[in-house]
């Protein structure tokens, strides 16, 4: 098999497993919702339940038909983006979700970038002088970043900037269309989300870099007189970043989950606060749609991470590594 054939096979197999997982997750979600104790429509509509509405819902969602048919209805509609209409606002649920997604994506993306941009250099510095007091100091810092829950970080940041200093805005996402304002509003929430990951990435980079620097191919480079900076910055780092990319996949899931807390505290609209509010209002179709989006995104993100990994380390695509 040529290298491109192998890579294609690798991508194909990953895609296949992704599709399967999304299918399974959708099934689980569907079952979870349907198996709620009590009559589904009453639970869903809550105090708004009238016989007419209940009949309408029953018909729309196909609750009067068999379970497999319901699943097919849900899945086929979801695949085309039809999540039905919101009972209260009569807007398509898809629109409701799409309204808030950009906010959360901006938050997650900027948190990720922040974590990488700050975490990687810290890890490299620590690895260059292991055992020194710089290393110990950075270690202490990183560990405290990692262990402090996002909840605590957000609360403290909020306290400092809302009650104490008033340098940065603490609520909302900023005026739409005003890039600078939106960026300003992005700062605190991103920092709150990213802090834990800064710590984790810096520890991971340090350990991975130390391991790589001890490997024999680095000795070869040294034997041929290649400068230490070039060795660390170019050759060692590429290899050392492979585990970092791997955890980014899990990181994205954690980021999305933690974004709920951050969005609530900083009063940002986003898929996290949408889920939260919908749950509070017992608006289950919206919850369902949100979860489908999140799961799909999470799985696709992991797929992208796998691809990037294969790019970084050609042994992975070949099935080894």
């Amino acid at each position: 098999m040529t290298r491109s054939q192998r890579t294609a096979a690798f991508i194909a197999s990953r895609l296949a497993s992704v599709v399967l997982t999304i299918a399974g997750a959708t099934l689980l979600l569907f079952l979870m919702v349907r198996l709620v104790p009590g009559d589904f429509t009453s639970v869903m509509l809550g105090p708004r339940a009238t016989p007419e509405l209940r009949a309408q819902i029953t018909h729309d969602m196909g609750l009067d038909r068999g379970l497999p048919e319901q699943l097919w209805l849900f899945a086929s509609r979801a695949a085309t983006g039809d999540f039905g209409e919101d009972v209260v606002s009569h807007r398509p649920i898809l629109d409701i979700v799409l309204d808030v997604i950009p906010n959360t994506l901006a938050l997650a993306f900027s948190a990720l970038v922040l974590a990488l941009v700050v975490g990687i250099p810290i890890g490299v510095i620590a690895a260059l002088k292991p055992g020194s007091w710089i290393d110990s100091g950075l270690a202490l810092l990183s560990i405290s970043f990692i262990t402090t829950p996002t909840l605590v970080v957000s609360v403290i940041l909020f306290l400092v900037f809302a009650i104490g200093l008033h340098w940065l805005p603490v609520a909302g996402a900023g005026a739409p269309g005003d890039i600078v304002d939106r960026l300003q509003h992005l700062i605190l929430p991103s920092v709150a989300l990213a802090l834990g990951w800064v710590g984790y990435i810096s520890r991971l980079v340090r350990a991975s870099l130390l391991d790589t620097l001890a490997e024999l191919h680095v000795r070869t480079l040294r034997a041929y007189g290649v400068s230490e900076y070039r060795i660390v910055g170019l050759y060692a780092l590429k290899l050392a970043l492979v585990p970092v990319v791997s955890i980014l996949g899990i990181g994205l899931g954690d980021l999305i989950g933690s974004s709920v807390v951050v969005e609530i505290i900083f009063a940002r609209s986003g898929i996290g606060s949408l889920i939260f509010n919908s749950i509070a209002q017992r608006n289950y179709p919206v919850v369902q749609a949100c979860v489908v989006f999140i799961v799909a995104f999470y799985i696709v993100a992991n797929l992208v991470v796998d691809m990037v990994n294969a790019l970084l380390d050609p042994r992975i695509a070949a099935g080894g590594g």
Binding site: L216, Y224, G225, V226
Partner: protein, 329 residues
């Protein structure tokens, strides 16, 4: 003398104490000569190489030693004494080619990296051409394709050829080969050794071949030095040393070799191997006398007390050994 090492002593500081890995080792290699440094595991042969290259581990300390390479002398007690020679005057081939090559970069990239140092100021295209040319010289099939491939896509023998190509590109005055064929099949071993000799012929460098295989040395090398527990016990041309080993250890080593055409008994249990009984001495505690004393079969009482100096053996001026038996005329 193209290469000479004088009085190299290296200590390792370990949690259990200080290990004296090398004591007063001296070597000479003529230009274009292949010197085989032979010794069992733990004799310190790799330490000689790393001390020369300045690649010793952090817990190692060069207590004494100097080297003269191509006319220039270096004080080996300083950590980066020979740093300027790396990639230009000295090249090293390591034992395991898979581990010695970076798995996530192409062969071409790694070869060109060597050239950056060797030919600074050259552009990428020139470097690529030189690299490809080197691959061709080491008889690697399809050099153009190899440039784009990754180490794991090549076999062990091919990888070692790449490593030799790297050495070729740096045009060294001294090539150190640390057990270059140990990780390879026997069938590939001959090919690689021929490549190394080809390299020597092409560039005219001195080669220090570090190995535990006496057979390799007698087959391919011009000169031999025997290392035991950190001391050089004997050195001379391969022909002379083989004909008339000056040191008991050398003699016993040759006796251990089993020639392929040796007669075998019908009853397999009757076949006997010669072994050298005993173990290496503890590197933390050197005995006052001869280092080989405990395992020698011809030692006498002075051997335990007097540390033998280098005595000439036979008529060849290059042949010498550290044995008190040679002291008595």
């Amino acid at each position: 003398m193209a290469i000479s090492v004088r009085n190299l002593s290296v200590d390792y500081s370990l949690p259990q104490g200080t290990a004296h890995a090398l004591r007063g080792v001296s070597l000479d290699i003529k230009q274009g000569e292949l010197l085989g440094l032979v010794g069992e595991s733990g004799s310190g042969k790799s330490t000689v190489a790393f001390a020369l290259m300045g690649l010793l581990a952090n817990n190692a300390k060069v207590v004494s030693g100097s080297a003269t390479i191509d006319g220039k002398s270096f004080d080996l007690t300083k950590r980066n004494a020979t740093a300027s020679l790396r990639g230009r005057g000295m090249a090293m081939i390591f034992q395991d080619p898979m581990l010695s090559l970076n798995p996530v970069f192409t062969i071409g990239t790694q070869l060109c990296e060597v050239l950056r140092r060797r030919a600074p100021g050259s552009d990428r295209k020139t470097r690529a051409e030189m690299a490809q040319d080197a691959l061709d010289k080491v008889k690697l099939s399809n050099p153009k394709r190899r440039m784009e491939q990754y180490p794991h896509e090549l076999s062990g023998g091919m990888r070692q050829r790449v490593v030799i190509a790297m050495a070729l590109l740096s045009e060294p005055a001294l090539l150190i080969a640390d057990e270059p064929t140990t990780a390879l099949d026997v069938t590939v071993e001959a090919q690689i050794m021929r490549e190394i000799i080809g390299l020597r012929d092409r560039i005219g460098c001195a080669v220090l071949l570090i190995t535990h295989s006496l057979g390799l040395v007698t087959e391919y090398c011009d000169a031999i030095s025997v290392l035991y527990a950190g001391e050089r016990l004997e050195s001379g041309t391969v022909k002379e040393v083989q004909r008339q080993p000056g040191h008991p250890y050398t003699r016993m080593l040759f006796d251990c070799e089993v020639p392929i055409d040796r007669e075998r008994h019908a009853d397999a249990t009757q076949n006997r191997f010669t072994v050298i009984s005993g173990e290496l001495p503890d590197p933390r505690r050197r005995p006052p006398g001869c280092i080989f004393n405990g395992r020698c079969d011809v030692s006498f009482e002075d051997c335990a007390a007097i540390h033998p100096s280098d005595y000439p053996v036979g008529t060849d001026v290059d042949h010498s050994a550290r044995c008190l038996r040679l002291a008595t005329p």
